[in-house]
């Protein structure tokens, strides 16, 4: 049953917050190298889904497989953090550490790299996200767009196979959105497997292999971008798109 090419498989996932049914029987499969964009109205469970995938959130029933390994015990969950990188809406950089130390903390402490190796790797990824000459500054000295690119580089330093993005640009001023999306597109073109929650539909057209539309805790529709934007099947999805594409 397990297909070698599956990077992530979510089967019949259910999640309650108390009485509130946040994820209803959600099933999603992501192949290696596939780029997924998840969209949907606020409160539809997009964040909850990707937070369940990398075990930041517990769920009530269903199964999650990452690289064919089921995430259920401490051992597999601890391993997940070297397989999956995560980028948050609020960046969540460590404010007391320099940019360089933000990037090397995980590789040194969790992967056991030497300081020199970790720093070399960090400088590489900083170059990749087009941050140069800022390595010794504190995060607060950087603009929002720069901070988010540092956060992406911090994830990449763990050399994950899969990247998750939770609305990576929605905390940014409009003029900084493009610089962050460009970096993500770059990653996508390099074949990184990724799930990105975003309402940036131009980005979705450019980078996504497949769209997932969620509403009220359910996956309503999944399709290739062209088909998704031109001929959305469900009514809810049509309404959502007409709202979001107005601006």
């Amino acid at each position: 049953m397990s297909d070698r090419r599956k990077a992530i498989e979510v089967r019949n996932l259910n999640k309650w917050y108390g009485e509130f049914h946040a994820l209803k029987d959600v099933s999603v499969t992501v192949s290696h190298g596939e780029r997924i964009v998840v969209c949907g109205p606020s409160g539809s469970g997009k964040s909850t889904l990707i937070r369940c995938i990398n075990s930041l959130e517990k769920y009530d029933s269903g199964n999650i497989f990452v690289q064919q390994i089921e995430m259920k015990d401490e051992v597999s969950i601890n391993k997940i953090f070297s397989e999956i990188g995560m980028v948050f809406q609020q960046f969540n950089l460590f404010p007391h550490l320099s940019i360089l130390d933000n990037l090397t903390l995980g590789p040194i402490k969790a992967l056991g790299l030497s300081k020199t190796d970790a720093e070399e790797r960090a400088m590489n990824y900083l170059k990749r996200v087009r941050i140069t000459d800022q390595a010794n500054k504190k995060p607060s000295a950087l603009s929002g767009g720069q901070q988010q690119r540092v956060a992406i580089a911090r994830s990449l330093c763990m050399e994950p196979k899969i990247m998750l993005f939770d609305e990576p640009t929605s905390a940014l001023d409009p003029e900084m959105i493009a610089e962050v999306l460009d970096v993500i597109v770059d990653l996508a073109e390099d074949g990184m497997t990724m799930i990105c929650v975003t309402h940036e539909m131009g980005f979705a057209r450019r980078a996504a292999d497949r769209m997932i539309f969620m509403d009220q805790g359910e996956v309503i529709e999944t399709a290739e971008p062209k088909e998704f934007f031109e001929t959305p099947k469900s009514k809810r999805c049509q309404e959502f798109l007409s709202q979001i594409l107005q601006h």
Partner: protein, 255 residues
């Protein structure tokens, strides 16, 4: 500022009483110009050493116990957080003096029944009691300091593979320390004041020495006035340090 003002007010009033009604004051007991007065004041001031040492060691222990109580206390797993809750509620409910008696007179008996023969002297008896009693408060200080750090920090630490103790050590505590240190230093004032209770089990600190001198000199007013001034000076120095710490930590935050 307020404290400084009250100190001056106190001194002025004391001196006014001293000059206007010479009948009630007998400062000669601690007048350093006489041999007896000099010896008396030396005897009293020598208590500073014990009070400070006692308070420092108790505060250090309280900081360690407090952290050990606070960390499991924040677990979402009830079986792990429950003992900490109980500890804080229990310790907070016990008045210091009964606890001091229990530790000094009772604990050695309990230990003996386990085959451990340790005599607890006044010094360590006082330290253990002060540390335990204070730890309920320090643990709450740690808890609120740590909980003031955004949950996103813990999550980001997890996503770069850090385990619980690494997350605490490299990410959470270095940030929370700014919120923790000033109130911890403030809590030190509480320990200094409570250390006076050590006098009842025979610890030769400031209060005990004052009591002993009162018994031989029959001048409680002057001696206890000086005793209060001694604590006042100690507390003023600490609160000056706390202010400085608060300013330093506050200005770091904006960087």
């Amino acid at each position: 500022m307020k404290l400084k003002f009250s100190l001056w007010l106190f001194i002025v009033l004391a001196l006014a009483g001293c000059s206007s009604q010479p009948g009630i004051w007998g400062w000669y007991v601690i007048d350093p110009r006489t041999v007896a007065g000099y010896n008396n004041i030396r005897f009293l001031l020598n208590g500073f050493g014990a009070t400070i040492l006692l308070s420092l060691i108790a505060a250090g222990l309280s900081m360690i116990i407090g952290l050990m109580v606070a960390l499991p206390g924040m677990s979402t797993n009830r079986w792990i957080s429950f003992p900490s809750r109980i500890y804080v509620e229990f310790v907070r409910a016990i008045p210091l003096l009964p606890m001091l008696f229990w530790v000094f007179y009772g604990l050695p008996v309990v230990l003996k029944s386990f085959g451990i023969t340790i005599s607890i002297d006044a010094f360590w008896g006082a330290i253990i009691t002060l540390a335990i009693s204070d730890s309920a408060f320090t643990s709450e200080i740690y808890r609120s300091g740590i909980q003031s750090i955004n949950k996103g920090q813990t999550e980001a630490a997890k996503t770069v593979g850090l385990n619980y103790s690494q997350t605490m050590r490299y990410v959470i505590l270095p940030q929370a320390i700014k919120r923790i240190l000033p109130p911890l230093a403030n809590q030190f004032i509480y320990i200094v004041k409570m250390s006076a209770f050590a006098s009842v089990i025979g610890m030769q600190e400031l209060t005990r020495r004052a009591n002993e001198l009162v018994v031989t000199e029959y001048r409680p007013l002057e001696i206890y006035t000086l005793l209060i001034l001694e604590y006042l000076i100690l507390v003023l120095i600490i609160s000056f340090f706390v202010r400085w710490l608060e300013r330093k930590m506050g200005s770091d935050e904006s960087k």
